[in-house]
Amino acid sequence: MKVKRSWTQQRDAKNARMEKVSSLLNGKFAKTEDAKEILERLIEPNDKVVIEGDNQKQADFLSRTLANVDPERVHDLHMIISSISRPEHLDIFDKGIASKIDFAYSGAQSTRVSQMISSGRMKVGAIHTYLELFGRLFIDLIPNVVLVAAEKADRNGNLYTGFNTEETPTIVESAAFKNGIVIVQANEIVDQVPRVDIPGDQIDVIIPADKPYELEPLFTRDPQNITEIQILMAMMAIRGIYEKHNVQSLNHGVGFNTSAIELLLPTYGEKLGLKGKICRNWELNPTPTLIPAIESGWVESIHSFGGEVGMEKYIAARPDIFFVGKDGSMRSNRALGQVAGQYAIDMFIGSTLQIDKYGNSSTVTAGRVPGFGGAPNMGSNPTGRRHSTPAWQAMKTTDNPLDKGQKLVVQMVETFGANKQPVFVDKLDAVDVQKEINMENAPIMIYSEDTTHIVTEEGIAYLYKTDSMAERQAAIEAIAGVTPVGLRSNASQLQDLRNRGIVALPEDLGVHRGEAKRSLLAAQNMSDLVKWSDGLYNPPAKFRSWS
C-alpha cells in the first residue's frame, strides 16, 4: 500500500535548521567568532557528523570549535572521521558531545583511541577501509552535517581545495545532495578562486578559519635514516618482484623500506637496464624520495591521494608527471586514488608491524588501535578484476584457461622490529585487542590469502605459488629469521622450497649482499633531494639538513 507522507521531510528539516542561523549569516558567510554558536544551532543530538580529518589536511578550526560546544545542547553525536588525527577529535568524546564513531585510521591518536574504546567512552561502529567508509557515506552513514576545510572560498561559495583536495569532494557530495548541511572553514576568502574544486551551490556555510588548517608532512622520509638492511631488501624486491613480474603500475606504502626502492631505481635499477620497463605509472602521494626516479626519467605518471608539504613548486613544474590543474597546482582525490589503488594497479608493496605464521599482517599492537588507512584497499585482491598486464597474468599458477591472475600484494619487513621484538609471531596482538575492545572483526590489515609475496632480509617467499596452507607456512618460516616462527624452518626444507621457486635467497636472485650500501642510494639526505629537484622541493623545517 502506498504510504502517505511528506517526501521532503529532510529538506524541510534542513531548511528549519538553516533558518536558525540566518541571523548569523551574510549569504553563506559567517564570522569566525560565531563559529561555536553556528555549530550549536546547526547540529542536533544524535546527528551523524563528518569532520574532515584526512591524512594531512585537517578541518582543525571546526574540530576545535566542535570540541568546545555546550554538551547540554549538542551531545551523542555519531562521528564519521576517516582519520582521527587530532587530540580534539577525542576531546569531543571525552566531553560527551559524541558517543559513537566510524573511522578508518587513527595512527596519530591510536593510544587514546584504544583507551577510549576499552573504557566505553567511545562506541565504534566499525573500523573501515577508506573505500568502505567513503562508500557508506552514500548508503547507511549518510551525514546530517559535514565539516570540511578549504584553502580558499570565493564570494559565490566556490571552493579551492587545490593540492590537498583529498576527500573534500566526496564528503561534501554525501551531504549536499541528501539534505545534509555543508559547513566549510576557509583559510582565505577571495574574489575569485584559482579554480573551482567544489561548486558553491553545494555549500551552506563558510567560516573564515582563525588560522590556516594544519598540514602534516606525513609521507616524507629522510634518506639519512635508510639502513643497509632496507637497501638489501629493496634490491631483492627490485630483482625478485619488480623485474621478475614486470611490474608497471603500483602503489608504495609509506616507509623507509619503500623509500629505499624509490632511491635505488636510478642507480641499481638503471644498472639492471630496467628503466622504461618497470615502475612507470604510480598511484602515490608525492613522496620526496621519488624525485630522483622522476628526474632520471623512470616515471610516466603519478596520481595522488593527497599532497605533501614542500612538494608544491616541484609538482607545479612537472605537469607531465602529476595531475595538475590549469591554475598550476596539483589536484588530489583520495576516493579516486583508493579506487585506482585497489582496482587499477599491478602491485601494492608496504610494510607492517606483525605477520602471523599464516601470513596475515597487522599494525595493531597492545594498547594501540591505529586502524588501517589505505593499505587494506590497496593490499587486497579484487577478485572481479580482469587485468591483462604481464604482472597480473604472471600470478596465474595453472594452465587452466579459466585461471585468473592476481594483484601483487607484497609485504616487506625485517624479521625483528623495534625493541628487538619479532615481527613474525604465532598469534597477532590484533587478536587480543579484538577481544579487549570487543570488535566483530579482528583488526587484520592484509589477509594472508591476498598476500602474494613477503620480503625479509633473508629472502623472498613467493606465497602465490604455494598450494596449501602448510606450504605457505613453510615458505614464511624459511624467511622469518630467528623469530619463533622462523626457527621451525630447517635447511633441507629451505632447499626444497628454493628448488621449487617458492623461496628465493639473495644469491638465487643475483643480488650481491656486499653491494647493499648506502652509497647505492640516489640520494642520501634531504639536501640531495633538494639538489635532484633543482631546488624546487622545499623540505619542512623539521627535515632540514644541517650543513
Binding site: P87, D94, A108, Q109, S110, T111, R112, Q115, S119, A366, G367, R368, N419, K420, Q421, D432, K542
Partner: protein, 301 residues
C-alpha cells in the same frame, strides 16, 4: 601546542638537590609537618625525607617556571610524582600537597617492615612478564606485574622471595636485565590497599580544583580534567601499576612542542628520546637557572 611536564617519583634523590630551594619553602614544610628537610644522603635513607624532599623540589621548580610565564598544557607524574603534577596543573594547593605527601610517606613507611619490595624486568613485554608472574604468584607468595615504564620495562611488586623467583624465570626467558630495585615496599600493587584506603579518606577532605591543564592518571594512563579522577589517582595510584608508557604515549599524541622533566634525575626524558624527536630535557641536565634560560630562548623561537 604546549608543554608536557613530567614529574618523577623516588629513586634519584641525592644530597644537595635542595640547595636552591628557598628557606621559606623549607620552613613551610616544617610548619605543616614538623619535619625539617635535611638535604643529605643519610637523611635520604628515610622515606619521609625522600618524599617530602622531592615534592618540595618540584614545587620550587614549578614556581620558578610559572613565575617566568612558562606553563604546561599537560602534566604527568610517576608514583609520588603525581603530587608535583597535580600541583603544576593547579589541581592541588601547595599546602595540601605537602600535608598529603607527608601522610603518604608515613603510611608507606609503616606498611611493611621487611620481606617486601620491588624488582624490574627489562627486555620482555608485559604479556610475557604477566605469564611468568602467574607461575609464581600465590596467596603466601604474592607478586604482581606493576609499573610499565616502557614496552619492555616492567616492574614487579610483592614478596621478595616471589619477586626473586620471577627474576630467575625472566632471565631464563630472554630478559636482558632482571633485578631487585631499592624500594622497601610493594608499591603499585594490591598489597598497598590499606595505605590507599586511609590516604583516599584523607583526600576526601582536600579540595581538588578543576583546571584547564590536562592531567595524566597513573592508574589508567588516560588523560583527564575530572577532579574525581584526579582525586582517585592521588589516593589510589599505589594499588595500581603506573602505566607510564601509556601516559607518555598519550602525552605525545597531543604533539607538545616541548617536554620537561622535573627533578630529580633524567630517566624519563631519556625514555622519551627513544621514541620521539620532540625537544625534551630534564631540569637536572642544566640546573634551574640555565633551564629557565633555555625555556625562555625556545619560547621566543
Amino acid at each position: 601546542m604546549g608543554e608536557f611536564w613530567m614529574f618523577p617519583g623516588q629513586g634519584y634523590q641525592h644530597a644537595g638537590m635542595l640547595q636552591n630551594v628557598p628557606r621559606n619553602l623549607i620552613d613551610k614544610v616544617y610548619d605543616l609537618t614538623g619535619i625539617e628537610l635535611t638535604d643529605t644522603d643519610e637523611a635520604y635513607q628515610d622515606s619521609i625525607q625522600i618524599q617530602l624532599g622531592i615534592l618540595t623540589l618540584q614545587i620550587y621548580q614549578v614556581n620558578r617556571l610559572k613565575k617566568a610565564g612558562i606553563n604546561p598544557q599537560i602534566v604527568g607524574g610517576h608514583s609520588l610524582g603525581v603530587f608535583g603534577a597535580a600541583y603544576a596543573a593547579e589541581n592541588l594547593r601547595c599546602e595540601d600537597a605537602i600535608r598529603i605527601v607527608y601522610q603518604r610517606a608515613k603510611l608507606m613507611q609503616n606498611a611493611y617492615h621487611d620481606g617486601y619490595g620491588m624488582g624490574v624486568v627489562v627486555g620482555l613485554s608485559r604479556t610475557q612478564v604477566e605469564q611468568l608472574v602467574a607461575q609464581v604468584d600465590s596467596p603466601t607468595e604474592p607478586v604482581f606485574a606493576s609499573n610499565q615504564n616502557s614496552a619492555v620495562q616492567i616492574a614487579l611488586s610483592g614478596k621478595l622471595t616471589a619477586i626473586q623467583k620471577v627474576i630467575e624465570l625472566a632471565k631464563k626467558n630472554g630478559a636482558q636485565t632482571a633485578k631487585l630495585i631499592k624500594v622497601p615496599v610493594p608499591s603499585h600493587s594490591l598489597l598497598m590497599k590499606n595505605v590507599a584506603q586511609i590516604l583516599s579518606a584523607d583526600l576526601q577532605k582536600i579540595q581538588i580544583v578543576p583546571s584547564q591543564i590536562r592531567y595524566l592518571t597513573n592508574y589508567s594512563g588516560m588523560v583527564t580534567q575530572s577532579v574525581d579522577d584526579i582525586r582517585y589517582d592521588l589516593g589510589n595510584n599505589l594499588v595500581h601499576p603506573v602505566y607510564w608508557e601509556q601516559m607518555t604515549d598519550v602525552a605525545l599524541e597531543f604533539s607538545p612542542d616541548l617536554i620537561v622533566e622535573f627533578s630529580p634525575g633524567h630517566a624519563f626524558s631519556k625514555l622519551i628520546k627513544t621514541k620521539s624527536d620532540i625537544r625534551t630535557f630534564a631540569i637536572d641536565d642544566y640546573g634551574i637557572e640555565d633551564s629557565l634560560f633555555l625555556l625562555e630562548k625556545w619560547k621566543r623561537g
